[in-house]
Point group: C2
Chain length 419, copies 2
């Protein structure tokens, strides 16, 4: 009995890392005033159909017919569900709406490094504001999340682009706008292909590779200045580089698009996103119409990236070390006092202290062994001196005697138990 290929059993050691990721995502997103939401794991397949998600994602859907004869899919991304929710409720909320979620997604991918069939993703979106200030806010959040993990400007870069610039380019090159989607997917792949291949693929659009390359080299001709100035005021300018080579795979993007890469280019994109100003309207049949910009960041590539960076992995290790599963171990040195020990443990736990003990009689030395191997900072010995107990700091072997009813307060305020 194994888990399915591409799916993970997350053991407690791995969950610690996940908790660190999720807590950091959540803390930074909330510091930006984003509010958390969630949506169903299973959706009607219709919300992912061609005109919305488009492309690769549809061929990777976990799609089936449910017991009620509905065509359903495990969610491969959050944006269509989110746009549905916002469209249905936009009158209830002040604009801009700033929301985030942390959820699991499913894609039937070929197995390869950085790709799993079930993965976690942070999604952050702003609705109801189409200004560069909103773009900058979302980019700043993306950057600040990675900074919170201990990554710096020498570790990653946010590559900033704009689909509107490409639409203008196509117009100037007399290419009909309905071909834009197919054209952009050629640009999307050109970085990974030989020039001859790209040249060949560009032919149907009547556009030369050299014209495309020249356009990319313009870096947007100052079009990104309002966003970049805003980021400079936040001290984040050095994390961003204009790069028109980025166009993103999904069909619904309309304006600014971006991807974040490690500077060494060891990994796939760590995060990505962009504007999708028409999706709310299209999913609500025109009943609601809100501009939007969003970003997604998955857990798989991010974890590889953090582990590859000395500063980030040191920061992670230090966070994990101070997040103990057992803080205080209660040693029962006199079995006749076990009922008292049980009462004491209950009060420690009520005070939020992570406390453990042996279920059955055991030698005191063995119980201390359990305390050490569980990683407790303190052992509390309940013996014949009850209601006095001995508190032992395991690192220093120092020991003091206290009355049992003073114990919880003592440990709760001790920063060596929890920083």
């Amino acid at each position: 009995m194994q888990s399915l290929p591409g799916f993970r059993d997350i053991y407690p050691e791995d969950f610690q890392i996940r908790r660190y990721l999720l807590d950091t995502w959540r803390r930074v997103a909330r510091s930006y005033g984003f509010r958390e939401y969630d949506a169903p794991t299973l959706e009607s397949s219709a919300i992912y159909e061609k005109k919305n998600s488009g492309g690769e994602i549809l061929s990777q859907l976990y799609r089936f017919t449910d017991r009620g004869d509905r065509d359903v899919s495990l969610r491969p991304e959050m944006t269509p569900s989110l746009a549905r929710m916002v469209a249905a409720s936009s009158n209830r909320y002040r604009k801009p709406i700033k929301w985030f979620s942390i959820a699991n997604f499913f894609r039937y991918e070929r197995q390869q490094k950085g790709r799993l069939r079930e993965f976690l993703q942070l999604n952050c979106d702003i609705f109801g504001d189409s200004s560069p200030a909103a773009d900058a806010e979302l980019l700043a959040l993306t950057i600040d999340i990675l900074r919170a993990f201990g990554l710096g400007k020498d570790d990653f870069v946010l590559r900033l682009s704009d689909r509107n610039a490409w639409l203008l380019f196509l117009e100037q090159n007399n290419c009909p706008p309905e071909l834009a989607g197919d054209f952009l997917s050629v640009v999307d792949k050109m970085e990974r292909e030989k020039p001859e291949e790209t040249e060949e693929k560009l032919r149907p659009f009547g556009v030369d590779l050299s014209a495309v390359q020249k356009f990319i080299a313009t870096d947007g001709d100052g079009a990104f200045a309002p966003i970049l100035d805003d980021l400079a005021a936040r001290g984040l300018r050095d994390f961003v580089g204009p790069d028109l080579g980025i166009v993103r795979g999904l069909a619904y993007y309309t304006g600014v698009v971006f991807e974040v890469f490690d500077r060494k280019r060891q990994f796939r994109a760590v995060a990505g996103g962009g504007r999708y100003d028409h999706l709310v309207k299209s999913l609500s049949d025109g009943n609601s119409d809100l501009p939007a910009i969003g970003m997604g960041m998955g857990d798989v590539v991010l974890t590889h990236f953090l582990q590859s960076s000395p500063t980030a992995s040191e920061k992670m290790q230090s966070a994990l070390a101070s997040d103990r599963d057992c803080e205080v171990f209660v040693v029962v040195a006199d079995e006749t006092k076990r009922p008292d020990a049980l009462g004491l443990i209950t009060r420690l736990r009520e005070n939020g202290i992570r406390a453990d003990f042996s279920f059955g009689p055991a030698k005191v030395g063995k119980q201390f062994g359990s305390a050490e191997s569980l990683g407790a900072t303190h052992a509390v010995v309940v013996g014949s001196e009850w209601p006095e107990v001995r508190v032992k700091t395991l690192a220093s072997r120092e020991e003091i005697a206290v009355q049992q009813d003073a114990l919880a307060d003592l440990l709760k305020n001790d920063h060596s138990v929890r920083p």
Copy 2:
């Protein structure tokens, strides 16, 4: 475009309640020394087949064939995945193994109050100890979680039973042990049925209804004393009542079983669980063999229950009120200082303060309106006095002037911002 029936769009107001539930579950489970894990959302259908989960659950599976021609199911419960994980790794961990998870599950249920097709559930399990002390630890955790929500002994009761007592009863009544499963499912349903119906259903087993009723009335004849004494030492005895009428629906339970109900019996079971001493062995083809006891608590019934209790709902409201999405709103009173304001906001956020502002120019009064409606405790006015800023406590209208570089420390240590 709607979400599927039985599935929920969780808007931020609802997510606040979910966060309160999850944070409380997690805090109490961790105070007991339980370690968090997770398992795949999608599993091979084989792990739920007859001999493991049994009964109703199989007819409610979201089951389909994936693109790789595998028979897969969305998880309807955690126990089989967990038992698989423990079986595969039990050599790595000291016993007892104490683990918990918070995850979503899927059952194609008829729609009714307290039932959804996707729901969240807390699962807590202890492996490697078959003593009444381990049983008591798991029951105490179940009780303490509900106490942490502000529920007392007059609000709920944990009904404690034992399947082994029933097996003994069947033996004494000359009923063959292979009929135990079917017999227990008659007992499971008898509380909701007319006596004549139960009488009729008991006939094939050669057991009288009166014998069954008499047996239930024995309350286990003292068999629960070790568990109850342990709980009494923890001050939790009043939360438990022996009740042999509880047998649980799932096929894999072996010894102690229990369910928690609200005293008024307005709702379905709030939590339930029991021993499953053979499941690890059966899922590992005998390679691993660990006794186990576990419990599950879902979010749907629990939320209804909390909202119905005045003390619990007051506790929840107070927790929600102090968990603000926006704590500090930065008012830009002089647009030429906007870059300075952006830098200041970045530093507040870096310090973990939830800070927001207006993306574009707006009248100062309107910005204060935004601060109020976002629920901020403080507004910080950035104007021509920069680098001095004014800090306004919105509740009291008190105002002080501070240097901008002292602001983050000031607000971080102010308990009116975050308790």
